[in-house]
């Protein structure tokens, strides 16, 4: 660390990379060491217009002695190699989701991070949304009674017919596809709320408009505790204005419906948890926690600030997704991908 500050490098200068740069650059305890970007156009822009030190190669960044931590925002295919090299160089790592394309690789990286005593976090950003955090608390408190079902759905209009769809998001070879891009969030929420210990079944997926990758995926997760739920991800929903996530959980004493802006809960009886009988809205959760900075929501800042705190020796955030958790989601993704590809 350079004095009191955490030296952070960013790999990948696309939409997420620049968002992360803006958030981290405004953090009083962070020193931006540099940004790695393959595309010369973006490198030139970053260097001249933003005044950031731009690197062509990861090695050059890793050689900078001021570097403590790396934030990775490249297409998923490249994550495995980049994360591995950062961990070998003993740097703390925040990686965009999904961690890799394989649950096995995820678990290896989790072990490597653990062995080297490094902070490791994956950008499953919904875990930093206050309504989602509240949903987990409600499950843990048993407000809904014995849970018997759930659904975790995410929809967006990322790809459309008639578009060129040139981004990596629509390229199978770069780790594109709806399952990896959006489905990973919906699966992670199930892991965040209910943990591991599930079996996967009923995997369906289709490529409709992208022509290269899955545009719609649904799957069922059955938990050993005796309940199950459906995970659905759809990135060609023409009616979606932007990515929208919705979570529903049913228990024998109640039901809750949650999205990032709103939480509604029905309880059969007032059991002293602060919810009267019938439907009510949890406005405290909906109003969110205050935060340091807001860019595309406050949750992107909240998750990165948790990472910076852990890198400077502070407590690890109990909500953050570490590599071990990401490997649970990764296993579901791997298994689903092998079903979809017919293996």
């Amino acid at each position: 660390m350079t004095g009191e500050k955490v030296g952070v490098g960013i790999v990948g200068f696309g939409r997420m990379g620049i968002t992360h740069l803006s958030i981290l650059n405004s953090h009083p305890q962070v020193e931006i060491v540099g940004v790695v970007e393959e595309a010369k156009l973006l490198r030139t822009f970053g260097g001249s217009a933003l005044g950031v030190r731009m690197y062509e190669s990861l090695d050059a960044l890793l050689d900078n002695p001021e570097l403590d931590a790396v934030v990775i925002a490249t297409p998923p295919k490249s994550h495995d190699m980049i994360v591995r090299r950062c961990l070998d160089a003993r740097k703390n790592v925040f990686c965009e989701k999904p961690l890799t394309e394989s649950g096995v690789a995820d678990a290896e990286l989790a072990q490597l991070a653990y062995d080297n005593g490094l902070v490791n976090q994956v950008g499953y950003v919904y875990r930093a949304v206050s309504t989602i955090r509240r949903a987990r608390e409600i499950v843990e408190l048993g407000v809904l009674g014995s849970i018997y079902g759930f659904s975790s759905t995410i929809r967006a209009s990322t790809v459309r017919s008639g578009q060129t769809n040139e981004s990596w998001r629509s390229a199978a070879g770069l780790g594109g596809g709806c399952l990896l891009e959006l489905g990973s969030h919906a699966i992670d929420l199930s892991v965040y709320l209910f943990g591991s210990g599930h079996t996967l079944s009923d995997v369906h997926g289709r490529s409709v408009v992208s022509g290269h990758v899955d545009d719609f995926v649904s799957l069922r997760l059955a938990y050993d505790l005796g309940f199950s739920g459906y995970v659905t991800a759809d990135w060609m929903d023409v009616s979606a204005r932007k990515a929208s996530l919705s979570l529903e959980v049913w228990g024998h004493m109640g039901r809750m419906i949650v999205n990032p802006h709103e939480m509604k809960i029905f309880v059969e009886k007032d059991e002293g948890h602060g919810f009267p009988r019938g439907w009510s809205s949890d406005t405290v959760a909906a109003h969110g926690e205050p935060g340091r900075f807001y860019l595309r929501g406050s949750e992107f800042t909240r998750q990165l600030d948790a990472f910076v705190t852990a890198c400077s020796g502070g407590a690890t955030c109990p909500h953050a997704c570490d590599f071990r958790d990401a490997a649970v989601t990764g296993n579901v993704i791997s298994e689903a991908r092998s079903v979809l590809s017919g293996h």
Binding site: S48, T164, R292, R296
Partner: protein, 292 residues
Amino acid sequence: MLDSVILGDNQFFGINHRSPDAARQQEERFRSVGAIGGVLSDAYECGVRGFMLNTNSRAGEVCDWIRDNWGTRDPLGIYASLPYAHKYASMMNEMGAVGTFRELAKRMGGGKGLATAIGRGGRFLVAKDAVPLMRSLVDAEMSVFRGLPVRVIFLQNIVTDLLAGLGLWDMLCEYGRYVSDSLGCVPGFVTMNYPMVSQGLTQAGLDRGVICTNLNPVGFNMFPSQEAYEETLNSSRFDVMAMSIMASGAVSPTDAAKYLRQFPRVKSVVFGASKRAHIAETVECLRGIGQV
């Protein structure tokens, strides 16, 4: 001078962050531009003389409606907000960051030179090119309002806050000066991080502009804190247009107005409503705001 009460536009375009159901109902109700015009007329009769309109995909037909139907009434001041960020986000999804850059340079004409430079791999894309690119983006987005009385041109919070985080205060000031000096309007900045943006713009030397930000007595969506907002309101040089004054329904219009009246810097309020009774009630409560 800013109009003290301004009607926002989210409700017309199916944007309701809290409730997807409400968003769907509103979108259905305002499918025809005449229905939007009806609300603008209602608002006018309630005393509203300002309308904030984002340069979204329906802005053109709304502006056409105003040009064709407003007649001899007092002009409706336009508070433009740009860019239509959604459009650029979709471009990023479709063609990635590099493709988006190239496409914008091409479309903006950003000078043939700029497009060629980008085509050659960005060898010449340096800081000085960012300013003409910004100007041509602003011009392109503003063309929809031609002939209408534009009072303020706001930069949307996604852009203001992105640039603020990156520390690009000079770029924000360039925008401000371009709007004042070349377009003859007041520059505005929508932000979710008011204390930071007010301080940054002041230090960078911008002397004229309006900041539009959330302001309510429960601290909803005020970053980093309500206290920091209140301190800044008492020391900032920029006039403020308050938004989200009822904190998504958590605060009554009366309490919202009472809170705002403490701050002489608050010259204006932008609010969203589509029922005449709601507009009338809000306008009544806000009477006198900005004239302290």
